[in-house]
C-alpha cells in the first residue's frame, strides 16, 4: 500500500524560536562532517534564507523538464563557527577583569558573511509598515523528488509505505547531483564521509510511532504530522478539505509533502496614520511568489473563519489550528519516546 507522510506548518503560530532546528541538530547532525548542517532551518521572510539565495540556485522541474541547478557553496550554507573559549578563559592573554584589554571571544579563521539565520528579523517593507514572518523548512519529501531522479547511483529512495525520501548512505558516492537538482537546497554534503545527507523525517522515530523531533518539540505547536490520506486527521482537513495549507514554490514541480498555512499580518498604515483597509501589510504578490496563486484563496478562507471566531461563532478550522489537544496534531504518531526502553542485544 502506498502512503505518503506529510507535514503542515502553521506560519501564524511559528515563533521563529528555532527549537525545531536545535532539536534536529542535537539528534542527527552532531558528528564529524555534519557540523554545518541544519536539516531543519527557519528563516525570516522576506530574506535570502539558507543557503543564501537558495531560490536562485535552480533545480526542480519546469513543466516536467528538469531545470539546471547548482550546488550551494559552503559559504552560502554558512560554516560551523569555532571559537577561542579556552584562550579567553585560561589563555596567556585572557579577557581580563570581566572584559579587560585581553583576547575576546571570536570566530576563528575567516570572518563569516553568512549563516543559517543571518537575516533574522530584518524583513521587508518600510517602517511603520515593516513586515516579516518565519518560514521553517525541512526536506519536502516530494512526491516527484528531483534529487531522486538526478542520482545516477539510484541512492535516493522514496519509501513506498510512507513516502519518506532518504539518501541511501551505503550507495551514495557523493556525486552531489541531488544537491544540484533539489530546488529547495535542503541537501548537504558530508566532507568527512563524502556522502550527501539530509532530513530523514526522523524515520527511526516514525517506526516507533513517534512524531519527528522538529514537530514534537515545537513549543509554538506549529507542525501537524500524518498521512496525506488520513481523512480523520488534521493534515487532510487542512490541505484538502479547507485548502488552507499549501506547498512552498509549487512551480518547482516536485510536489512537496510539506504544506504551509500562510501568514496574516496586522494591517498597514496609510500616510495619515489611518488603517489602510485596501492593501495588506505583506504584499499579496510576495506571498504568491512563495506559495503560488492558491495562497490568496487560503488567506480568504482563513480570514473568513477568523472573522467567525471573533463573532463568537464556532469554526472547525480555527479549532483545528488551535489544536486543543496537542497529541492530535500528530495523526497517530503520538507515542511518548521516553516510554521506550532499549535492551542491549
Amino acid at each position: 500500500m502506498e502512503r505518503q507522510l506529510a507535514m503542515v506548518l502553521d506560519l501564524n503560530k511559528c515563533l521563529g524560536c528555532q527549537t525545531c532546528t536545535i532539536a534536529c541538530k542535537r539528534l542527527w547532525t552532531r558528528d564529524e562532517g555534519m557540523e554545518y548542517m541544519w536539516w531543519n532551518s527557519v528563516n525570516t521572510q522576506p530574506g535570502r534564507g539558507t543557503p543564501r539565495d537558495w531560490e536562485d540556485l535552480g533545480g526542480g522541474f519546469r513543466e516536467g523538464i528538469p531545470e539546471p541547478g547548482r550546488i550551494p557553496t559552503r559559504r552560502e550554507f554558512g560554516e560551523a563557527w569555532e571559537y577561542n573559549h579556552r584562550e579567553v578563559f585560561y589563555g596567556e592573554n585572557a579577557s581580563g577583569s570581566g572584559g579587560g584589554a585581553g583576547q575576546h571571544l571570536q570566530i576563528q579563521g575567516e570572518k563569516p558573511d553568512w549563516g543559517p539565520n543571518w537575516d533574522e528579523d530584518q524583513g521587508g517593507g518600510d517602517y511603520p509598515n515593516s513586515y516579516y514572518f518565519y518560514l521553517p523548512r525541512i526536506c519536502n519529501h516530494c512526491t516527484h523528488p528531483a534529487c531522486l531522479e538526478a542520482c545516477p547511483r539510484k541512492a535516493i529512495e522514496k519509501n513506498a509505505d510512507n513516502g519518506i525520501v532518504t539518501v541511501n548512505e551505503d550507495r551514495c558516492r557523493g556525486y552531489r547531483f541531488c544537491m544540484e537538482a533539489c530546488p529547495y537546497k535542503k541537501i548537504y554534503f558530508n566532507q568527512a564521509k563524502k556522502i550527501s545527507q539530509k532530513c530523514i523525517f526522523c524515520f527511526p522515530r516514525i517506526e516507533q510511532g513517534v512524531a519527528p523531533a522538529c514537530a514534537r518539540q515545537c513549543p509554538g505547536r506549529v507542525r501537524f504530522v500524518g498521512y496525506r490520506d488520513d481523512r480523520d486527521a488534521p493534515i487532510y482537513k487542512l490541505v484538502d478539505k479547507w485548502q488552507v495549507a499549501i506547498p512552498l514554490h509549487p512551480e518547482y514541480g516536485t510536489e512537496p509533502n510539506v504544506f504551509y498555512v500562510p501568514p496574516i499580518a496586522p494591517p498597514r498604515y496609510d500616510e495619515n496614520g489611518e488603517i489602510d483597509e485596501l492593501n495588506p501589510r505583506i504584499p499579496e504578490a510576495y506571498l504568491v511568489s512563495l506559495f503560488g496563486p492558491k495562497v490568496i484563496d487560503a488567506l480568504v478562507v482563513l480570514g473568513e473563519e477568523m472573522a467567525k471566531a471573533r463573532k463568537g461563532e464556532k469554526s472547525e478550522l480555527m479549532d483545528l489550528l488551535i489544536a486543543y489537544k496537542w497529541k492530535e496534531m500528530f495523526g497517530g504518531f503520538d507515542e511518548d519516546p521516553a516510554a521506550i526502553e532499549w535492551v542491549k542485544s
Binding site: L15, C17, Q18, T21, A23, R26, L27, W28, R30, W81, Y83, H85, F89, Y90, A94, S95, G96, G99, G100, A101, G102, P112, G115, D121, Q122, G123, G125, Y127, P128, S130, Y131, Y134, N162, T166, C202, F203, P204, I206, E207, Q208, R216, P219, G220, R221, G226, P263, P266, P267, Y269, M306, A309, M318, I322, A323, Y324, W326, G332, D334, A338, W342
Partner: protein
Amino acid sequence: MGEELKVATGIKRRTVIIGGAVGAATLAGGGLLLRTLKPMEEPHAPLAGSATPLPRPSYTDWHDVYRERWTWDKVVRSSHFVNCWYQAHCAWNVYVKDGLVWREEQVAEYPQTNAEVPDPNPRGCQKGACFSERMYDPARVRYPMKRVGERGSGRWRRVSWDEALSDIADKMLDTITEHGSDRIVWDIGPLYTEGTMSAAHQRHIMLLDSTSLDQNSEIGDAHRGVAETFGKIGFERSADDYMYSDLILIWGSNPLYTQIPNAHFLTEARYKGAQIVCIAPDFSASSIHSDLHVPVEPGCDAALALGIASVLVDEGAVDLDFIAEQTDLPLLVREDTRRYLRSSDLRKGGSDEQLYFHDEQQGISPVPRRSLALGSLTPTVDGRFEVELASGETVGVRTVYSLLREQLADYTPEKASALCGTPPATIRRLARMLARARAAAMVTSSNMDKYYHGNLMERSQALVFALTGNYGKKGSGFVGFPWLDHDALEKFIRSMFGVGDMLNPTAIKTVGGMLAKQLKWKAQGYTDEMIVYEQGRSVISEGRMACGALFWYVHGGLLEASEKLQEWDPYLERPVREVLEESLSKGWQEVWPRPGNDPKMLFVLGANPLRRIRSYPLVLEHLWPKLDLIVTLDWRMTSTTVASDYVLPAAAWYERDEHKWVTPLMPFIHSGEKATSYYEAKSDWEIISRLTEKVDERARARGIESFVDRRGDELPLHNLYAKFSSNGEYGHTDDEKVCAYLIDNASNLGDLTWPELKKKGFARFEKIGHGAVAIGNATEIEPGETITPLTKHVFDKMPYPTLSRRIQFYIDQELYLEMGEQLPIHKAPPLAGGNYPLILTGGHTRWSIHSAWRDDSLMLQQQRGEPVVFMSVVDAAERRIRDGGMVRIFNDLDEFEIMAKVSRSMRKGQLTIYHAWENFQFKNGKGFQNLIPTPLNPVELAGGQFHLRPMVIALQPGHTDRDTRVEVEATSDGASR
C-alpha cells in the same frame, strides 16, 4: 536479529503486528524498505506499563546508524534551573547514554486545564533543547580554581575542594572578626532556585549575619510603577487565561522572544477570536502575529496611555462603579497642600493614614480600610468640596479623578501623539477597542522598569485598565511581576533554631520577634497579604535582602555616573546625591554595609554581576580593590568568574536534585533528578554546606567562639555547622532531604511528596500560598480553571496593601510632589549619557536566558556569531553604515565596537542591543554596558509612606538602561561600499 525479538513479549507482539519495524525491516532484505510501526487505520496500541522494552538495532545497513543513534541507556526528568521567568519552566526528559547526557526532549505531559483552552504541551525552547551540549562545552567549570596571576589574568591553579574551602573560611573569619560580619556580601542571581540552593544560602547568611543583595530593582525588574499603584508587584495570570480575552495588549513585552513556551496561547487566542495589539517602537517579532501594531517612541508609553485615558474620559467610557470601589480616584486631595485629606487634618490626634471621599448622602466620609465594599456609601467620583480642618481653617478639596481629568487635557490624542509618535487616529482606535472589550488583558514583561521614567509608564498603563474596569474578570487585567513558589523556604531556614535556642539572638529576632509583630498587625486590620509584606520588610532590615542597586551606587562607585544627571534630566532641581543623603537620613531607604564600611568579601552565587551591572567598569574601579576575596560559584565561566579569586564548580542543572519557583503563567512547580556527575562539580547545597562546616572547623582551630553581629549581638560560632545542618539532619549530600522538607511543608502543593514530584517532574500548585511575593496574586487556583489575578480584591473586596487600601494613582509623598509626579504624567526621557541623537535600548533576547547561553556555539551559529546592534535602514543610510559592517557607538561615557544589523523592522532613532552579551565577547572587553550611566532617579529614593517603604524585590531604587543616548558611526571596515 531473530533472537532479539524474544527479549520481551512486548517486542514480539509489536513486531508481529507490523511485520516489519526495527528488527524486521532489516531482515526484509537489505533494509531498503522502511515501514511504519503499523498501518495508520489502526490506533496505536497503548504502551504497556511505563516503559516498552525494544532491542537495540544491530548494524545491517545505513538505516541502522540512525536507528542506533536514537537509543539511550536511561531517561531522567529534569529542568533548567535558571530564571527564564515569564517562560519558566518546562519539564524535560534527559536522555543519558554512556554516562553522559546525550540529549533532552520535552516530557509534554501537562494536563489541559479545561476543554475551552488548549493544553500547554510540549513547552520548551531552543536553549533548553541544547543544554546537553552547553553543559559539556568549553565554558564549563570542572574543578575548583584559584587565581594565581593578577585578577583577570586568566592564570589559575587547580586546587582541591579542601584547600579552597579552608582558605575561604579563614578569610571569612578574618573579615567577621576584624571588620564586621555585614562586610561579607552575597550577590545572588538568576540561578537562584528557592530550592536547595536557596535553603543553603539563606541558612548560611543568617547564621553568619552576612549581607545578601536583593537585585530585583538593580536588574530593572522591580516594576516600580506597579508597586506605587498596587502596593505590591507580584500578580499575573496563567497563560491559558488569554483564551478568555477578547482584546490582548502586548505592551512593553516581546513574548515571541521571551515567552517561547507560552506564546502559543497568544496565537491560539487570536484564532479563538481575540484581537491582539502589539505596542512597541519596533515591528517586533511579537508584532507579526498581531492584529494591530502600534508604533510608539521609546520611553514615551506614558503619553500614549494618557492619550488613551483622555479619550476614555472624554467619551464617557469610564467604568464608574469600578473606580469608585477599587481605586483612589474618588479620594479627596487638599488644594492647598496637594496632599490627601487625612484624619489628622480633621481632628487632633487623627491618623495620618485615614483618607476620605465624599459620599453622596453623608458628605465627607472616611474611606473604609478593612474592606473595599462600599455598603451604602456612594462616593462622588468627580467633584470639589470645602472642608473645615481641625485648625478651623476651611480648604478646598478635590477628588483625584477631577485632578486627573484636568491633567488629561494635556493628553488629547493630538497632544499625546506629539509626545509619543503614535498617530492620533490609532490612539482613538485603541481607546475605543478598550472601551468595547469584554475582557482586555495585558501581556507585559519587565521592560518599563528599565526606563528612568518607567514608573510613570506603568502607572499610566494601570490607569487605562482601571478606567475600563479590566481587573479580576477572566481574561482581563493589567499585570505585574509573575511569581509563584512553594512557601516553605522561610520555615526551613528558621527550623534550624529549636527550643534550645531561646537565647540565640538571631532566633529571638527572627522567630520570636515575628510572632509579636504579627499579632500587632492583625489587630491593625492588616490582611494576610500585608502581614507577609511586613515580614519581608523585616528581612530587608536584617540585611538578608539588602538593596542591591544602592550597594553598587554607594560601594561600587556607580553614583559617579549620575553626577551629570541635572544636565540630562530637565525636571531635576537638585543633585541626586543630596536626595540620597536625605533618603538615608530619614530612613526611607537603607544601605548595607553602611556607607563608609567597605565590603570585604564578595560571594557570587549563580550570578554574573560584572556582566549585569550597567557601568560595571566603575565597580571594577571602586569596589574590586576593596575586596579581599571574590568567590564565584557557577557551572560555567562568565565575565565575573574571570575576575574572581576562586571559582567553585557547581553542578549543572541535570546534575542535581532540585526544584524551582515558577510563575502563575505556568503554575507548575518543576523538579529535577540528578542524571549524571561531572568532574568535581557539586550542588550549591553541598558547596555551601561544606563551606559552613569549614568555617566552624577553622573557628574552633583558631579559638574563635563567637562574633558580634551588625546589631551588636554576640552570635555563637561553636555550633555553626550543627545549626546549619539541623544537628546533622541535612548533611552535605542530603539535597533530596531538603527538597522533601520544602515540598512537604509547603502550604500550597496539597499532598504532593518529593518522590512523586521527582518522578513526574512537575506538579500544579493548588494554592497561591503565603510566599513573600506570590501572595500578591490575590486569587485562588482552582482545578479546571485558568488563573486570573486580583480576584480577592475585585470580588472579595480585600483591601490593597497601599496607603489608601485601594489601587492608588495619587501619591503625595514629598519627593513625588517635588518632582510633580503625584499623578501619572509623561516625562521626556533623560539624555542619559549626553546629548546624542540616538536612543540605545535593549530587550531580553530570544537566544539566551541572561548570559547563560550567550557564548554557546549553537546559539551563536543561529545569530551572527557575535554581538549585533539592530538599527533602522534610515539611520544606517544617513551614516553610510552597511548591514554586517562594524560600527563604533559612543557617548560621554565611553565607546565600543559592534556589528550593525540593519533592519526594516526598526524605528528611526532607536538602536537595540539585546540582553546579556558577556563583556568578553567585545573587543577590548568594552560593550554597551560601558555606555549606560544608569542615572539614579531621585523619586525612587522615596519611602516613609505606608506602601512606599522598601519591600522584598520592590520599592527600592533601581538601575535603568533604556534611555541611554548615543551616536554611531561606521568603522573603517564597516562603511557601505
